[in-house]
Symmetry: C2
């Protein structure tokens, strides 16, 4: 199968689109811009959800669920947020269909069933949630509220791509309410750290933690903290954001609390989210021309065992050994599939698991039975090794860790090679055009300059890194003074 | 708090509505008929999800995700299904808002952004899923498809009640495709068994497994298998349904496969679902005039420990002991909360946990410290007992099991008392009116009779029980011959 996969070097974008479909992750649906997440893709999302949910709960958050619909009057209450999302809102206007009198067997919208107030399908839930929080917060004793929701949201994007940008997507959105500004800022930054830890330790995807410039900030936020990853084509991917919302939503929805000192004060807010877009990032960070490469910590199947046999008797002998081995692996918490399907030959199975990125493949044939060995192949480097059966369990356990580490290291190295410090605009343009990746450059801090650079190069400021050092310099475009470097890149 | 709760005997419906809100499970939102599921209510749903998801996976199903929207032309393809849901569909007609020129700071629907084809917000996903399956099924080798999705759906109901009937609700919907009729029927019945096992073993809610009569069948199904529970007010609750869909959707969406014999055949289908309505059933099965009563297997917190102390020193001594005890309980997989909040007095905490239905409450004061004892109270019977600390761990472990069993037994006994075998229509009316519950009666098998009985009594046929014995008799209304009894009840 993989031989039909376009090579990354030939057309990275085509490679990605093909891979998502061929590896059975997702496909386009009959609804414009909406995807179907197939079982294998969804299994990756479930793994991501499980880890993130654990991390959210360990940091004190609880899950809840708020309505899919936002009445227009609530949606428009926080003006900047409303303005930011108005152009991409799906709107429910009617609540009933009826038989179409002109068209036997067809339905039409019942004109009598028009809603008094239109309902926006949530593009994000600040409005409906802050309208709810108003009833939950009276006193400082009711704070903080540390709530997360796993949900679908809809943003009517004109150009969509599977996982990376779809009209409907799955995500989590945290919405917290605090008594003080410092507590809210700390929360927003904590969640940036949680996202970065998840990206690096589970996805093996290195990220830069930083602050968004004004023009890239979330609509309605005071500050947007982001994690930015670098894909193999040299484009950046915004992988998660955490917003300090100030008192904007509290003011829009009149959410006040009585402080310990008996004063009425507006509540401080954060929101933060990651989405199924992460699956796109995962694919583009590690995969190769042979197919998907999955880090063991998020692979739905970590180990696959393929028996190679001529007849039932050989298969029985192999199965006897391998059923025991499967049990031992599972005891160690390793997910394993023993593929005894007789409708496919071993070669086809090898190709399938290569395409699907299963980290470790074990093959066992008659010769191995005689010699007491297994052939163990790793997906990341495609290396194979003969291992004595008694050593295999520990070997695989170590190998999974090694693959996880190796994928991260490879991605870190790639990012290092593709992060260029640049001091003049000619070089800036050249690097963005030919080499791609992150460009670390001085910027004068104005939106105007940012826009002009975008016009000339299509590169935008991905973030002002949290760890950017104080360094006096001059803006790469205007020559005006600057005191720290920011990261530019073309982005998804 | 619980003293402000309406008594069940005074107004069962009011008791339910108050309890849901006071126990912090859910509340109405700003969107007509849509609820906010609060963290405590959502934690129960998460417990339900985890068990059901495990059971689905153990029976070979995988999760996937399909679009929220269904284009109208797909929605209307299976006519009976479309007809069944057309009257309660939320419809998206536009994809953009714009500034309202007549109303500074307000938004309006952009008339230029009208969709060419309206999108129905899924009330159920057969249409969009079968349109997708068309691309997945070519050969018998592609079957069966055993897929489940966890999702939100919208049915624009006119009269709504928290959990029991809401315009938006959360559910899971399984959608399977099979090569043969017998395999599909077996699947539909298997999932009825899975639901019954979940209801009885986890919710401690006894259910009758049965078949729906024609008039109560799912729109588009050949057969609907149901599990029916009985609430404390004598009304039945349809708690889960599993449908054998025949080839209706395969024909509507032209989904054929090549059989082993090389013939093109239509695929056979099932679908099955349970929803957040189960939380309503859970509440109404076990709770009492003091508040919620939760079965230990679904309680977010199984054990709460309340310290009773006069000063910091006493609290420290108690905490030292209890922190160890908490660890031991957690090691046993018991979820426990040690409530050291100093903003509430022990009495208020007792009332809170009673209202919230925490199965076991442990209290420890100075006297207990001296005597090496704990006071252990169970929520189901409200009994208290003094237990020596070294025995407490095993005591609680056993107690949780005992509560789980006792709740189920109580509910089974209630159902027994409220299931009446009836042979004439005068008695039928009397029982339905005064005693309520299930009425087991003969029925002539016609929809007309069913409708007339409903008119006279508001009772409907809940199901034809799977285990109904062959017994010749005469219809309770018409006197026409009948060969088995069916269960009638008023229902939610």
């Amino acid at each position: 199968m993989s031989k039909h996969l376009t090579k990354r070097a030939d057309d990275y974008s085509k490679w990605y689109n093909e891979l998502v479909v061929k590896a059975d992750l997702a496909e386009n649906s009959a609804v414009r811009g909406c995807m179907v997440i197939k079982p294998y893709g969804f299994a990756i999302w479930e793994k991501m959800q499980a880890e993130l949910d654990r991390m959210f709960k360990e940091t004190g958050h609880e899950n809840a669920y708020f309505p899919l619909f936002v009445p227009k009057s609530l949606f428009e209450a926080e003006e900047k947020n409303a303005e930011g999302f108005a152009k991409e809102c799906a709107v429910v206007t009617h609540y009933r269909l009826q038989n179409d009198p002109d068209n036997q067997g067809k339905l039409r919208v019942d004109p009598e069933a028009k809603l008094e107030e239109e309902l926006v399908v949530r593009p994000t839930s600040e409005a409906i949630i802050w309208n709810t929080y108003k009833g939950w917060v009276q006193s400082y004793r009711d704070l903080p509220l540390l709530i997360n929701q796993w949900a679908n949201v809809v943003r009517w994007e004109m150009r969509t791509r599977l996982f990376l940008r779809t009209a409907e997507f799955l995500w989590q959105e945290g919405h917290t309410a605090h008594a003080t500004k410092i507590e809210a800022v700390t929360e927003a930054r904590q969640m940036q750290d949680v996202y970065a830890e998840f990206a690096e330790n589970f996805m093996a995807m290195p990220v830069v933690k930083g602050l968004k410039s004004d023009s890239e900030r979330f609509a309605g936020a005071e500050d947007t903290y982001t994690i930015e990853a670098l894909m193999q084509d040299g484009k950046a991917l915004q992988a998660g954001t955490s917003h300090f919302l100030g008192q904007n939503f509290a003011k829009a929805f009149d959410v006040k609390f009585t402080s310990k000192e008996g004063k009425k004060e507006y509540v401080w807010a954060t929101s933060w989210g990651v989405s199924t877009r992460l699956i796109g990032g995962l694919i583009m960070t590690h995969s190769d021309d042979f197919g998907l490469v999955l880090p063991p910590k998020l692979a739905p199947t970590q180990v696959v065992i393929v028996p190679i046999y001529k007849d039932e008797k050989q298969l029985d002998a192999i199965s006897e050994k391998m059923n025991e081995f499967v049990k031992e692996l599972r005891k160690k918490g390793i997910s394993v599939k023993f593929d005894t399907r007789d409708t496919y030959r071993p070669g086809a199975k090898f190709a399938e698991y290569e395409l699907k990125g299963v980290p470790v493949r074990v093959a066992i044939g008659n010769r191995d039975l005689e010699n007491g060995t297994l052939e163990i192949a790793r997906r990341d480097t495609l290396e194979k090794q003969i291992v004595a059966q008694p050593d295999a369990l520990i070997f695989i356990e170590n190998l999974l860790e090694e693959i996880q580490g190796n994928l991260f290291k490879k991605a870190v190295d790639f990012r290092k090679e593709h992060t260029t410090v640049v001091n003049d605009f000619k070089e800036f343009k050249k690097v963005i055009k030919s080499k791609g990746g992150f460009v670390s450059a001085h910027w004068d801090g104005t939106e105007e300059t940012e826009n002009r650079i975008k016009e000339y190069t299509k590169a935008t400021i991905r973030c002002i890194p949290n760890d950017a050092e104080q360094e006096s310099g001059v803006c790469v475009l205007t020559g005006k003074p600057s005191n720290k470097r920011v990261l530019f890149a073309k982005a998804y």
